[in-house]
């Protein structure tokens, strides 16, 4: 029996540890800068890139037929030596506009020679994926300034920061100033619509609003044009620089410098520099916006969305859950009805989460949200404000989902408060509410926090309902930002869990997204652990207050 129970536990632990190890191993390696290899294949092609994966396989005899005749014997001999097997490696070749693929499998017997070119560069680009090549020339205003790799690289290192600063400035103008102009235009357009809805299209107030709108619009379009001009100037400045790189098979490609996010001379890096690149990629991942339909760049909006939604959910679910548990345990007279309610609450935890999603969509978005739109945001219709998924509805849906997770431990904690304490309080002349507030709740607080921890763990990782009630693969604006009124509960948001689903299973190129999926998973697990650790620390602090309790 010991072996049976112990074995079962060991299997459980093994599975969990295995899963975590896989995620950590795969997720943490994504950003490590690999060496760039160049392979000369027996077929005569040259490939350059990073090795992403290795596996053994037994090549079929026909596979050799595809090789040129001269190479077949050597390849057969190679496989023969390996006992009929061969390793094959997944090479990240990228250069998508030339090769048409991101990854390719190459078996060892196909490779004639292998080298690591000293000056091989991995260029992370703003669009189009990575580019691998050796620097050929540095171009300024259409003139080739250098031909040597070392000199070219020196110029890149010198001028790339300036280019990136200008891009950051242009992005800031785009995001802040142009965003503000657009909002103002939208606001005055909505003012017109509001006036028309309130007083009719021909009413004087509507006419005034229309005139105001016309004036404002022409004023703002001038502003818009000016900002556009600023951005254009910055972009023209950046367009002067380009880097000419030569791919493995000798094709020259001009890469404008303003397309480069990060240029890494992968084979020249020392261990410390490698670590620096690794760190800077992680930093970008957690602090930047996504690029290239989320397969590159950062996940800051998703982190923000996950944390914001989880916090709003906790703020909603904990008070409601605690109040409900208080009623069930302290006020309700025990009887069949209370037992029935208790069973129903427990069973609520077993309802599939997608059902909550459907309910949230139908009730919160389409019923409550649409009514709110009718009353308060009529001028924006038919485009919905609250009538569609948003962070508030998502939080409410998840709050509903996690309600039993809070109620059950809270009730248990309330029941565990010794009756002698309640009696002591009553005997001092305390009312029921005073007793609950001053004695029962503080004493039950660790249990209540346990419920909250469970709710956070459940809520932060839940994805299925979010797909329906507000998570978006790409949300242009954060739900909380610097624009009044700062909190925008109706906005859709990005979520790490949804990001994983979307990247891994909905994107066009799931092979390219795979490392990102693992890394995002690692981040989500890390985030849930972090939220839990905070809650557990708070609980431990509270528990210390009750140490030595004898009753």
């Amino acid at each position: 029996m010991v072996w049976l129970t112990g074995g079962a536990l060991a299997i459980c632990v093994l599975m969990i540890v295995g899963m975590l190890a896989l995620i950590v191993a795969q997720g943490s390696g994504t950003f490590w800068p690999q060496h760039i290899v160049r392979w000369q294949t027996r077929a005569g092609a040259t490939l350059m890139g990073e090795i992403a994966d290795v596996e053994r396989h037994r090549p079929e005899p026909e596979a050799f037929e595809r090789l040129p005749e001269a190479a077949r014997a050597a390849a057969r001999a190679f496989v023969e030596r390996e006992g009929g097997e061969s390793e094959r490696r997944l090479l990240r070749v990228e250069n998508f506009e030339l090769t048409g693929k991101h990854y390719t499998w190459v078996s060892d017997y196909e490779i004639a020679s292998e080298s690591e070119p000293e000056w091989a560069l991995a260029l992370e680009r703003r669009a189009g994926g990575r580019f691998y090549g050796t620097p050929k020339a540095y171009v300024r205003d259409g003139e080739r300034l250098t031909t040597e790799p070392a000199a070219t690289w020196a110029l890149v290192e010198q001028e790339l920061p300036g280019v990136q600063d200008r891009i950051a400035t242009a992005d800031a103008i785009r995001r802040d100033d142009i965003g503000r102009v657009n909002h103002e235009i939208e606001d005055s357009r909505l003012a017109v619509r509001r006036a028309e809805l309130a007083d009719g299209v021909d009413a004087p107030s509507a006419r005034v609003a229309r005139e105001l709108f016309a004036a404002r619009e022409s004023e703002l379009s001038k502003e818009f044009a000016r900002l556009r001009g600023e951005i254009d100037a910055l972009e023209r400045q950046n367009a002067r620089y380009a880097l000419i790189v030569e791919t493995g098979d000798g094709v020259e490609q001009s890469i404008p410098l303003d397309q480069i996010v990060r240029a890494i001379p992968a084979n020249r890096l020392g261990p410390l520099e490698r670590l620096g690149v690794y760190g800077s990629r992680w930093a970008e991942f957690v602090s930047a916006e996504p690029r290239e339909s989320s397969t590159e760049g950062g996940v800051l909006p998703a982190i923000f969305g996950t944390v914001a939604m989880t916090l709003v959910m906790s703020i909603l679910v904990v008070p409601f859950g605690v109040l409900a548990a208080l009623y069930l345990r302290e006020y309700a007279k025990p009887g069949p009805l209370v037992s029935f309610v208790r069973i129903a609450v427990n069973n609520l935890a077993g309802v599939p989460s997608i059902v909550f999603g459907v309910f949230g969509l139908g009730f919160f978005c389409y019923l409550v949200g649409a009514s709110i739109d009718q009353v308060f945001y009529a001028e924006r219709l038919p485009s919905p404000t609250f009538g569609t998924g948003g962070v508030l509805w998502a939080s409410l849906t998840l709050a509903l989902l996690t309600l039993p997770v809070v109620i059950v431990p809270t009730e248990e904690a309330l029941a565990a408060v010794p009756s002698s304490m309640r009696e002591g309080s009553y005997a001092c002349g305390a009312t029921k509410w005073q007793t609950i507030r001053r004695i029962v709740l503080p004493r039950a607080m660790p249990g209540i926090l346990t419920g909250m921890i469970l709710a956070i763990a459940r809520g932060a990782g839940e994805v299925a309902p979010l797909v329906l009630v507000g998570a978006a693969p790409l949300a242009p604006e954060l739900p909380i930002d610097g624009e009044a009124p700062f909190v925008h509960p109706s906005r859709s948001f990005m979520h790490l869990g949804y990001q994983i689903y979307h990247l891994g299973f909905q994107s066009r190129n799931s092979e390219a997204a795979k490392p990102m999926v693992y890394t995002t998973t690692l981040l989500l697990i890390g985030l849930v652990v972090l939220l839990n650790v905070v809650a557990i620390a708070v609980r431990a602090k509270l528990r210390r207050r009750f140490q030595g309790a004898q009753v």
Binding site: K333, P418, S420, M421, E423, G424, S425, Y426, A427, C428, G429, A430, T431, Q434, R438, I439, P442, R443, R545, F546, Q547, G548, A549, Q550, V551
Partner: protein
């Protein structure tokens, strides 16, 4: 009407336990077991109440008090007065209703479902069970200490001033004054004065019980109820609590339940012996222990049963 009828039924019952109404006066030849027989046959009888009690001023008057848990009756028409400024002990075998009677005084039994009562109690003349009585206000006039120490999960200071806190007292000077006075009253000041803001749960069991006494006397109660206050304590802590009860005598009117005969005889001024929900004999402690009027009482206090 009903009351008058009850008087009549009472008078119709024989009173074999009264020495005046028959039987020899010597203690040896007292008629025995008649009371227990009456109890077992569920006949009504009058308790033997020593006349010396009538000279006392009563803080609490219990009048024909009965209590039912659902269908079963736990207290049978108990009438007694609790003298002011004295310690009164309730003794009797387990299940005789001592604690039930004690908990009826501050209406703690209200917390239990299906409890019905008959008769009444008066605290300094104010009815405890009249309809419209504010139970919360009533409990503030009565202090209670329980079998097991039950300090609240908060600091020593907050524990002592709990009754003031729930009354909304915020003045720090008042709170500190009451805290010190109560802790001194409970003999805990010297041990606790340097750790007032530590958790009360870190105190030892005996200290916790003295803290509970401090908490009970902080509200200046008119009567202090002690429900076997030493049953969960070791002999040394018990001794300290008994000394404390001795010191509190005079300033407080104390009604205490105890299982311990020695404790009752050492600490109390008056002792009431209860049996199966009836008050059997009630008088000055010395008389009850040394020359009880009823043989049943003697049997119990000398340890022949119970």
């Amino acid at each position: 009407m009903i009351r008058a009828q009850r008087e009549v039924t009472k008078k119709s019952v024989v009173k074999p336990m009264s020495p005046e109404s028959g039987g020899p006066k010597s203690a040896v030849e007292r008629p025995t077991r008649k009371v227990f027989d009456a109890v077992k046959e569920k006949r009504v009888f009058d308790a033997e109440i020593h006349p010396s009690l009538s000279t006392e001023e009563m803080v609490l008057e219990i009048d024909d008090f009965s209590l039912f848990y659902g269908a079963s009756q736990a207290l049978w028409e108990i009438s007694m007065g609790i003298p002011k400024g004295k310690v009164t002990a309730l003794i009797g075998p387990s299940g005789c209703g001592k604690s039930t009677l004690l908990r009826s005084v501050n209406r703690m039994n209200d917390l239990i479902d299906h409890v019905r009562i008959g008769g009444t109690m008066r605290l300094n003349g104010d009815s405890i069970y009249a309809p419209g009585v504010d139970v919360i206000e009533l409990r503030k006039r009565i202090g209670m200490v329980f079998q097991k120490p039950n300090p609240f999960p908060m600091s020593i200071f907050e524990n002592v001033i709990y009754s003031l806190r729930i009354d909304g007292e915020r003045k720090k000077s008042v709170l500190e004054e009451v805290c010190e006075a109560s802790l001194r009253g409970a003999g805990l000041w010297e041990e606790a004065k340097d750790r007032l803001h530590d958790s009360a749960l870190r105190l030892s069991g005996g200290q916790q019980q003295r803290l509970c006494i401090a908490r009970a006397i902080a509200a200046e109660p008119e009567v202090l109820l002690l429900d076997e206050p030493c049953s969960a304590l070791d002999p040394i802590a018990t001794g300290r609590i008994e000394d404390l009860i001795e010191e509190l005598k005079g300033s407080y009117s104390i009604l205490m339940v105890t299982h311990n005969m020695q404790q009752a005889s050492r600490t109390s001024d008056y002792t009431a012996f209860m049996y199966l929900g009836r008050l059997v004999e009630y008088g000055p402690t010395e008389d009850v222990f040394v020359q009880p009027k009823l043989a049943e009482t003697e049997d119990y206090v000398t340890g022949r049963f119970g």
